[in-house]
């Protein structure tokens, strides 16, 4: 598991650096999603019509208390198939981490995801897009939980796993900075 987590974190670093290095592109796409486990908002830079590098923040629910109180942060890379048409097919690879909180503990766990879906461009300028998507997420972290009671000190290794299946709807808007 430690090797997989290192790969996820490396992916997160690569996507984040790519996003940071594309700050000078002339189009930013703001996207918000509601999915089965939470909500997130991201900003992506569009260096090429079919490519996006982005960073996102969100809230999700990953524990049994079903509360959306787990903070998520991610970076991602998206390729848009059929982008020249009104209906296109984005495929996104993302890597991030979940700062999870439940009744008994707080943890930080890296995760990666692959999502695909359908987007429809709206409006005359095609600045607005709505879409549906689904994907698979992987993330795992083990940590020691301690508890003290009248019998003594008890320790146990807890395993946190990100819920693997995600599906949701999204809305995005393209921001074109004004040129002087």
């Amino acid at each position: 598991m430690i090797k997989i987590n290192r790969v996820l974190i490396t992916l997160l670093a690569v996507f984040s650096i790519c996003a940071a290095n594309n700050l000078s592109t002339n189009c930013i796409r703001i996207k918000s999603s509601i999915f089965n486990k939470g909500v997130d908002i991201s900003g992506a830079f569009v260096p090429h019509d079919n490519l996006l590098f982005g960073l996102g923040l969100g809230l999700s629910s990953n524990f049994i208390e079903s509360a959306w109180n787990d903070f998520t942060m991610k970076s991602m890379f998206t390729y848009l198939f059929n982008n020249s048409k009104k209906v296109n097919f984005p495929v996104t690879v993302e890597a991030g981490f979940i700062a999870g909180k439940n009744y008994d503990y707080h943890i930080i766990a890296p995760y990666a995801a692959v999502n695909s879906g359908i987007e429809i461009k709206l409006g005359k300028n095609h600045k607005n897009r709505i879409g549906i998507w689904s994907g698979y997420r992987y993330g795992k972290r083990s940590f020691i939980v301690n508890h003290k009671n009248q019998f003594g000190d008890i320790s146990y290794i807890e395993n946190f796993k990100v819920f693997p299946f995600a599906f949701g709807i999204s809305y995005s808007y393209d921001i074109h900075p004004r040129t002087p």
Partner: protein
């Protein structure tokens, strides 16, 4: 450049925090080892023909030699927090009835200011032991005990939801021996493992014995030794062992 450096520092921090933890044991520490059986994961029905693999609900607790409840060592989240997914307010006492009735004897005699209850609820969850998600595979628990009594009994009770068989059916009528909470109930009753331990012994390695099963509908805290009607419930674990380091 500054952004890239910040990102690299953050990633380094995350990498350092991804070490796999290991429980380290000192002299006189106890280790409880649960080895899973062939039926540790049970197909819990979702919708249509879809199901998901669920590990069992589990409680491990200790009593004195007169079976007076002392404390819980470990308990899974759903019963420790009454976090059942489709119980419609039912506390599901048929899940781990021997453990619940063992606790009842203590809480009936305790002072009225105590906020803990025999059956944990959402507003009064279990507080005296580790609560955790049901493990999907075998695991260990480490105890550094300060118990000073001459000996104690260790119990482990396990149960699957909707674990029906030819005798414990989902449409069994209430009041019959085969009733175990209806279509969302247990099916086969919880199984109970136990052993007696004496911490004064230098060397200690004891395997918990399968003592019997609990009440199918959870209405009493009796131990039933007729195991012939249980099928897959007897294969939830292959062994539970306690050893002293």
């Amino acid at each position: 450049m500054r952004t890239t450096r910040t990102i690299c520092l953050l990633m380094s921090f995350l990498l350092i925090n991804c070490q796999i933890p290991v429980l380290s044991y000192s002299t006189d520490d106890l280790e409880i080892v649960i080895e899973t059986g062939s039926h540790w994961l049970h197909d819990y029905p979702l919708i249509l023909e879809l199901s998901k693999k669920n590990p069992p609900q589990l409680a491990i607790w200790v009593t004195d030699l007169d079976t007076n409840y002392l404390t819980t060592i470990f308990c899974t989240h759903k019963i420790a927090r009454c976090a059942w997914q489709s119980n419609s307010g039912n506390l599901r006492k048929e899940a781990l009835p021997f453990w619940i009735h063992c606790r009842e004897k203590k809480f009936l005699n305790s002072d009225s200011n105590s906020t803990e209850t025999a059956i944990p609820t959402k507003s009064h969850p279990l507080t005296d032991g580790i609560t955790a998600a049901s493990p999907e595979k075998g695991f260990s628990i480490k105890i550094n005990s300060n118990y000073t009594g001459s000996g104690f009994l260790l119990f482990a009770e396990l149960n699957h939801s909707t674990d029906f068989n030819d005798y414990y059916q989902k449409n069994s009528s209430p009041g019959t021996d085969a009733y175990s909470g209806g279509s969302e109930g247990s099916g086969q009753p919880a199984v109970l493992f136990s052993c007696e331990l004496d911490l004064s012994r230098d060397e200690l390695e004891v395997k918990l014995e399968l003592s019997g099963h609990s009440s199918p509908d959870g209405n009493d805290g009796n131990l039933y030794t007729d195991m012939e009607r249980l099928t897959t419930a007897k294969s939830i674990v292959s062994s539970i062992t306690v050893k002293k380091h």
